[in-house]
């Protein structure tokens, strides 16, 4: 079933078009929005989460029209949303922070609400710190707290904006496990600029560039875009779109390979950099 049908969405801030004809169709499973900073991912997720209206374009979420007050409320009842800068009152305990959101999500029966809060805190392994103040939680714990509130009521749609930002590698791995599990039987839309996240958890991927989608498919299909365009050499090849040093002294190149080049299997990152063009790819090459 298609959970999200967004067609030709436009959202402008003054002269800047954050969304410039964005089209996205998402179904059950984890769909990753991959793109550089400023590509429009956060704006798109805000529109999908019904907190920001697009200027034009068609949008249906969970079969509802979010521009209609009744439809919007219906979507919000079945939505879990983790914004990019998810904050909580720092004086709240972890339990109180999630309980506050649970009240707003219409969990009115106190005992049942508290059980639900306990359930989601346990899901993200924060059950043991339920009585700790938000200000005393680590960044990773706060991020998981954000996910906990999104999971309240077991919603069929989860919208997660950069959920792995600021996490150390171990926390990121745990978070990916959580998101993968959350993606069983529901739709998860997550934005990231890390190709590893996409490879680890996403069943579908949309590459976003300058407010529009430039690729939609599976991670494997994305990687295959770079088939025959990735090679390694002992020295850096100036003809490559980008090249960077990898282990054992080799240079990894993307672009049009020279005759006789030693081709290697492409990764999602290779294809992503090729899609974004020489400027982004060059950035990767210089950073390496």
């Amino acid at each position: 079933m298609t959970t999200i049908e967004a067609t030709e969405l436009v959202k402008a801030y003054g002269r800047h078009r954050a969304l410039d004809g964005m089209t996205l169709h998402a179904r059950t499973g984890v769909t990753g929005l991959l793109g550089p900073n400023g590509a429009g991912k956060t704006t798109l997720l805000r529109v999908l989460a019904t907190v920001l209206p697009a200027d034009s374009g068609q949008l249906r979420v969970l079969g509802q029209d979010p521009y209609d007050a009744v439809g919007r409320r219906s979507v919000r009842r079945r939505l879990g949303y983790l914004p990019q800068d998810a904050g909580f009152h720092r004086g709240f305990t972890a339990f109180e922070a999630v309980d506050y959101v649970a009240v707003l999500k219409e969990h009115t029966d106190t005992r049942a609400r508290h059980e639900e809060v306990r359930r989601v805190l346990d899901l993200v392994a924060l059950g043991d710190v339920a009585t700790k103040r938000v200000r005393a939680l680590s960044g990773g714990m706060r991020q998981r707290l954000g996910l906990a509130q999104a999971l309240l009521g077991d919603p069929p749609l989860l919208v997660l904006d950069e959920p792995t930002v600021g996490l150390d590698p171990e926390q990121r791995m745990r978070f990916r496990d959580l998101v993968s599990e959350a993606g069983q039987g529901r739709t998860v839309i997550l934005s990231t600029h890390q190709t590893e996240d996409v490879a680890a958890v996403c069943s579908d991927v949309v590459v976003v560039k300058e407010g529009r989608s430039v690729f939609t498919g599976t991670p494997t299909e994305l990687a295959s875009l770079a088939t025959g365009r990735v090679w390694v050499d002992d020295a850096k090849d100036p003809r490559a779109v980008a090249g960077w040093r990898v282990g054992a002294g080799h240079y990894h190149h993307i672009g049009d390979p020279p005759a006789g080049a030693e081709l290697v299997d492409p990764t999602i990152e290779d294809a992503y950099l090729l899609l974004l063009g020489p400027q982004a790819a060059q950035g990767r090459g210089e950073a390496a």
Partner: protein
């Protein structure tokens, strides 16, 4: 001298589980169970798991669940549901810092009314602004770090804003009214700030459907102060801005217009303005 190791048998475990052993023996059994894994295993089949789960749930509820604050208990006593009371109690502007700040402003403006020429005008200019600022501090991205999460919940934004506005106004009204009663001059001065206060508050809520509440309050406050502080000029009557029929009429009209706008734009208030 050594003591013979003592353990529970099946019969004693069963009697202990149903509570038919005497208190002394029960104490011995409990002491022993703390250190003896095999005996705990012997007792395990007798444990009433559903009851144990229930007890554990009660313990967790007691330890983890938020304790109702004094305000929540007060609201509960006037019939408000505990869920709604939580939303009101989470209002930033109902916290100590706001109440302290508001009291200081009132005290200073009251002092000005006694010691300065036209000092009453200072009070009449500042008092109406307080509830509007309180509302601005009660809702929106600047006041609530969870605002974007809150905006994506099905709870009506206008209802939440109205709920918090009502309580902020109520809590501001009492100290401002008390301060008004202490003003030098005619008795009606105590009430002279109420209408502009109402207009500014409703206006802030209505304008919040276009811009963030703190921006709305700031804009209206500046506009109000620009008008009202003209009364500080020696040639003006300090009551000019609040008690002449024209000003009163305009204030009522503004409050009514803001209320109508708010009702018309309640759906628009349900989504956020740009927060970043």
């Amino acid at each position: 001298m050594t003591t013979t190791p003592w353990h529970l048998d099946g019969e004693l475990a069963g009697r202990y589980a149903v509570g038919t052993v005497g208190p002394v023996l029960a104490a011995s059994v409990e002491q022993h169970l703390v250190a003896c894994v095999p005996c705990r295993s012997l007792l395990a089949p007798h444990v009433d798991t559903p009851r144990l789960d229930l007890v554990w749930a009660e313990v967790l509820e007691e330890v983890e669940a938020p304790r109702p604050t004094l305000l929540e208990r007060l609201l509960g006593s006037i019939g408000m549901s505990d869920a709604t009371a939580r939303l009101v109690a989470a209002t930033p502007s109902l916290r100590g810092a706001w109440v302290t700040g508001m009291s200081v402003v009132l005290a200073l403006s009251l002092l000005a009314a006694y010691v300065a020429d036209n000092g009453v005008a200072v009070f009449l200019a500042l008092a109406p602004v307080l509830p509007a600022l309180g509302v601005a501090a009660a809702y929106g991205p600047a006041a609530d770090p969870a605002h974007e999460i809150v905006a994506a919940t099905p709870y009506s934004a206008v209802r939440l804003l109205a709920l918090r506005t009502a309580f902020v106004v109520a809590t501001t009204l009492v100290p401002a009214a008390v301060a008004g009663l202490l003003l030098p001059g005619p008795a009606h001065l105590a009430l002279a700030w109420l209408l502009p206060g109402l207009a500014l508050t409703v206006g802030t809520v209505a304008v919040s459907t276009w811009i963030a509440p703190h921006q709305a309050a700031a804009a209206l406050t500046v506009a109000w102060l620009a008008v009202s502080l003209r009364a500080l000029a020696p040639r003006h009557d300090p009551l000019l801005v609040t008690t002449t029929p024209v000003v009163l009429g305009c204030t009522v009209a503004l409050a009514a217009a803001a209320a109508v706008l708010l009702v018309q734009r309640r759906d628009i208030a349900d989504v956020i303005r740009r927060t970043a």
